[in-house]
C-alpha cells in the first residue's frame, strides 16, 4: 500500500514537471520574430483578398508548345467562394470556373454544360497555365499552415528586405515542403516566393513586380510563376483593375450564375 502511494506521488510529480517543461517550450517557440512573421504573412495573404473583391486579370502563359493570353473577370467572397469568367479570347469567352468550398465547377459555353472536376483532374493545368486546379482550391493561409522563422534581415540588391522561411506544420494540408518568402522591409510587400517540394528541391518561383496603387492599396500588379524544371516557361498574372469590398452576395457564386454570360 505504501509502495503504491509512493508510486502515485511520483507519477503526479512527473506529470507536473513534464507539463511545465512543455509549457515553457511552447512559450519559447513563440518568439517576437514569429509573431511579426505571422502578422506579415497575414498581410500578404490578404493583399489581393478582402471580404470580397472584383478584379480584371490578364493571364499570359508561355510554354515550349504554346503562348496564350487570356483576360478574365474574377470575383471572390471570403475564403470559400470565387468565380472566374473568361472575357477574351473570343473562342473561350464565357468559359467560367466556380470554386465553392473544395469543389470546382467549369462551365463550357460551347457545349452549354457545367462539369464538376473530379479528383483526378485536380493536378491538371488550370486553363493551360502553370497553376493546377488544386492551386485554386487550396487557398491555404500561410500563417495558419506554416511555422515561419526569419531567415534574413538586411539589404539585398539595394533594397532593405526580410526573408522568412516557412516550414509546414505536421498536420497542415499543404503540398509544399518549404516556402521561402522575401518581402520589402518597410512596406511588407512581397518580392519573391520560392516553393520547395517535400525533398526540399525548388519547384517554382513566383516573383512580384509593378507595385501600383489599385483599389485603395499598393499592390504588385504583376505575378510571374516560373517552374524550375522549365526555366523558359512562365505564367504571368497582370491585375488590370481590382476593387475591394464590393457587394457580392453568396448567391452570386451559384451554378445558375456560372452559366450567365
Amino acid at each position: 500500500m505504501n509502495l503504491k502511494l509512493n508510486h502515485v506521488a511520483f507519477l503526479l510529480f512527473l506529470m507536473v514537471v513534464l507539463s511545465l517543461t512543455w509549457a515553457s517550450m511552447s512559450f519559447a517557440t513563440t518568439t517576437d520574430d514569429e509573431v511579426r512573421a505571422r502578422l506579415i504573412l497575414d498581410l500578404i495573404d490578404d493583399l489581393w483578398r478582402a471580404d470580397s473583391s472584383e478584379s480584371t486579370v490578364t493571364m499570359r502563359v508561355v510554354t515550349a508548345n504554346y503562348r496564350r493570353t487570356v483576360t478574365m473577370q474574377n470575383w471572390t467572397l471570403g475564403k470559400n467562394y470565387s468565380l472566374v469568367r473568361i472575357v477574351s479570347p473570343q473562342k473561350e469567352k464565357g468559359t467560367a470556373t466556380l470554386k465553392s468550398g473544395n469543389v470546382i465547377y467549369t462551365y463550357l459555353p460551347k457545349t452549354d454544360r457545367t462539369i464538376r472536376l473530379t479528383s483526378g483532374m485536380m493536378m491538371g493545368s488550370w486553363m493551360g497555365s502553370h497553376f493546377t486546379n488544386d492551386d485554386l482550391v487550396k487557398e491555404s493561409r500561410m500563417a495558419d499552415d506554416y511555422i515561419p522563422r526569419l531567415g534574413f534581415e538586411g539589404d539585398r540588391e539595394g533594397r532593405s528586405i526580410l526573408e522568412f522561411i516557412l516550414e509546414p506544420k505536421p498536420e497542415a494540408p499543404v503540398v509544399w515542403g518549404r516556402v521561402v518568402i522575401t518581402v520589402l522591409a518597410e512596406s511588407y510587400l512581397p518580392l519573391v516566393s520560392l516553393y520547395y517540394d517535400e525533398d526540399l528541391s525548388l519547384v517554382r518561383t513566383v516573383t512580384f513586380s509593378d507595385f501600383v496603387e489599385m483599389g485603395g492599396r499598393t499592390l504588385p500588379a504583376r505575378l510571374r510563376v516560373v517552374p524550375t524544371e522549365e526555366p523558359d516557361e512562365y505564367t504571368e498574372l497582370i491585375y488590370e483593375d481590382i476593387r475591394f469590398g464590393v457587394l457580392v452576395p453568396e448567391s452570386f457564386f451559384s451554378l445558375q450564375q456560372l452559366r450567365r454570360q
Binding site: 502563359v61 510554354t63 515550349a64 508548345n65 504554346y66 496564350r68 479570347p89 473562342k91 473561350e92 468559359t95 467549369t106 463550357l108 460551347k110 457545349t111 454544360r113 462539369i115 464538376r116 472536376l117 473530379t118 483526378g120 483532374m121 491538371g124 493545368s125 486553363m127 493551360g128 497555365s129
Partner: protein, 387 residues
C-alpha cells in the same frame, strides 16, 4: 502393323495441327485486338506519354512502311474528362483512322452494341465497356469531352455514343474513347503528327525479331517495339502454354512410340523359328539385321503414306471449318487482353506434318534395334526348337 503405325501417325499429324492452330490463334488475338504486332513511337513517348511528343512527317513514315508491305495505322492519344448524365470520369482520348486501323487490328469486330467509327459520322464516338457503365451510357447518348488542347485552350465538344466495345483490355475498358482522327485533331488543336503507329506484318515467314529489325531500318529515328516487348506478360503466358503443349506432344509421341516398339518386337519374335532356319542355312547375322531393318523401314514408309493421306486432308478441312466451341465458351471472353476465340482452327504447317513422320521413323528405327540384334545373334538350334 502398318495400319497401327499409320493410324498413330495420322493422329499425331492432326493433333500437332490442332495445337499449332491454337497457339497461332492465341498469338494473333494477342495482337489483333489492340496493340498490333509492332508499334512505332517517338523515342521518349513510351516513358513520358506527352501530347507534344509526336512522330512528325507521319504521312511519309506511313507510306514508307506500306511500300515495304507493312500495314500501318496511325493513332493519336490524349487525356481528358468525359461527362454525361451529371457525372464525369477521366478518359483516354484515342484518335484513329478506321480504314487503316481495320488492316492492323480487329477491334472493329468487338462491339458490344452499336457501330464502329465511320467517316460519315464525325460526331460519333466509340467507348469502352466499363466507361459506358460508369457514365450510364448507351448507344445514342450525348457525351461531353473536355481536355486541354495543344494550344493550351480548353478543348470541349459534344459527341454522341455510336458504339460500345466488348472487353478489350483494362485501359480501353475503363477509359477508352475512340474518335475519328480528324475529329480528334480538331478538338485537340493538333494539326499534324501522330503519337503511335501500329503495324501488322504481311506474312509470318520472317521471325518477329527480323521484322522488328526491318521496320527499325525503315524508321531509324523512331522507337520500334514488337508485341512481345509491348506485352511481356501476354508473351510469357503464350510461351508457357507453348511449353505445356510441347509436353503434351511428347506424351502422345511416347505412347505412339511404345505402340510401334511393341509391333516391331511382335514382328520379330513371332518369326524366331524362321530366323533360326535361315541362320542354320548359313545367312550371316548382319544380313538378318538389315533384312529386319529394311522390312521395318518399308512398313514405316507405308504407314507414313497412310498417315499423311489421312492426316493432311483432315487437318486442312479443320483449317477452314473450325471446331465450334461457342457452346463451351462465352463469345466475348478475354484473358489478359487476349480475346478467346471459341472457334478452334487447325493450322497445317510444315512442322505439324514433318515432325510426326520424323518421330514415327526415329521411334520405329530405334525400337527395332533390340529385336533385330536379338534375331541376328540367335543360336540356330535353339531358335529352330523355339515354339
Amino acid at each position: 502393323m502398318i495400319g497401327a503405325m499409320g493410324f498413330a501417325g495420322f493422329i499425331m499429324i492432326f493433333y500437332a495441327a490442332l495445337m499449332e492452330g491454337l497457339l497461332h490463334t492465341t498469338e494473333q488475338n494477342a495482337t489483333v485486338m489492340e496493340s498490333g504486332q509492332f508499334q512505332v513511337h517517338a523515342p521518349e513517348y513510351r516513358d513520358d506519354p506527352d501530347l507534344y511528343t509526336m512522330i512528325t512527317q507521319e504521312v511519309e513514315v506511313l507510306n514508307r512502311l506500306q511500300a515495304n508491305g507493312y500495314q500501318a495505322a496511325p493513332r493519336l492519344f490524349g487525356v481528358g474528362l468525359a461527362a454525361a448524365h451529371a457525372s464525369s470520369v477521366g478518359i483516354m482520348l484515342r484518335g484513329i483512322d478506321p480504314d487503316r486501323e481495320r488492316l492492323v487490328t480487329e477491334i472493329h469486330r468487338h462491339l458490344l452494341a452499336g457501330k464502329w467509327l465511320n467517316g460519315d459520322d464525325p460526331e460519333g464516338v466509340v467507348v469502352g465497356r466499363r466507361l459506358a457503365k460508369a457514365l450510364g451510357l448507351v448507344v445514342g447518348d450525348e457525351l461531353v469531352v473536355v481536355s486541354q488542347a495543344g494550344d493550351g485552350s480548353m478543348a470541349n465538344e459534344l459527341y454522341r455514343v455510336r458504339g460500345v466495345l466488348k472487353s478489350i483490355n483494362e485501359s480501353i475498358d475503363r477509359s477508352g474513347v475512340f474518335f475519328l482522327d480528324e475529329v480528334f485533331r480538331k478538338l485537340m488543336v493538333l494539326p499534324d503528327g501522330v503519337h503511335e503507329i501500329a503495324i501488322r506484318s504481311p506474312d509470318d515467314t520472317y521471325s518477329l525479331a527480323d521484322h522488328t529489325q526491318q521496320i527499325q531500318n525503315l524508321v531509324p529515328d523512331l522507337e520500334v517495339k514488337n508485341w512481345r516487348e509491348l506485352q511481356p506478360v501476354v508473351a510469357r503466358v503464350i510461351d508457357m502454354s507453348r511449353y505445356s503443349l510441347l509436353l503434351m506432344l511428347v506424351i502422345t509421341y511416347s505412347a505412339v512410340g511404345i505402340l510401334t516398339l511393341n509391333g516391331m518386337l511382335m514382328g520379330v519374335f513371332e518369326r524366331i523359328h524362321e530366323f533360326g532356319v535361315v541362320k542354320a542355312l548359313g545367312v550371316p547375322p548382319w544380313q538378318i539385321f538389315s533384312l529386319i531393318a529394311i522390312e521395318s523401314f518399308l512398313q514405316v514408309v507405308f504407314a507414313s503414306i497412310i498417315a499423311l493421306a489421312a492426316g493432311i486432308p483432315l487437318s486442312l478441312y479443320f483449317e477452314t471449318h473450325p471446331l465450334d466451341l461457342t457452346g463451351l465458351a462465352s463469345s466475348s471472353a478475354s484473358i489478359a487482353g487476349i480475346a478467346l476465340d471459341p472457334l478452334w482452327y487447325c493450322r497445317v504447317s510444315v512442322k505439324a506434318v514433318v515432325d510426326p513422320i520424323v518421330v514415327l521413323m526415329v521411334v520405329a528405327m530405334l525400337s527395332i534395334i533390340y529385336p533385330a540384334t536379338k534375331a541376328a545373334l540367335l543360336k540356330p538350334l535353339a531358335a529352330i526348337h523355339h515354339r
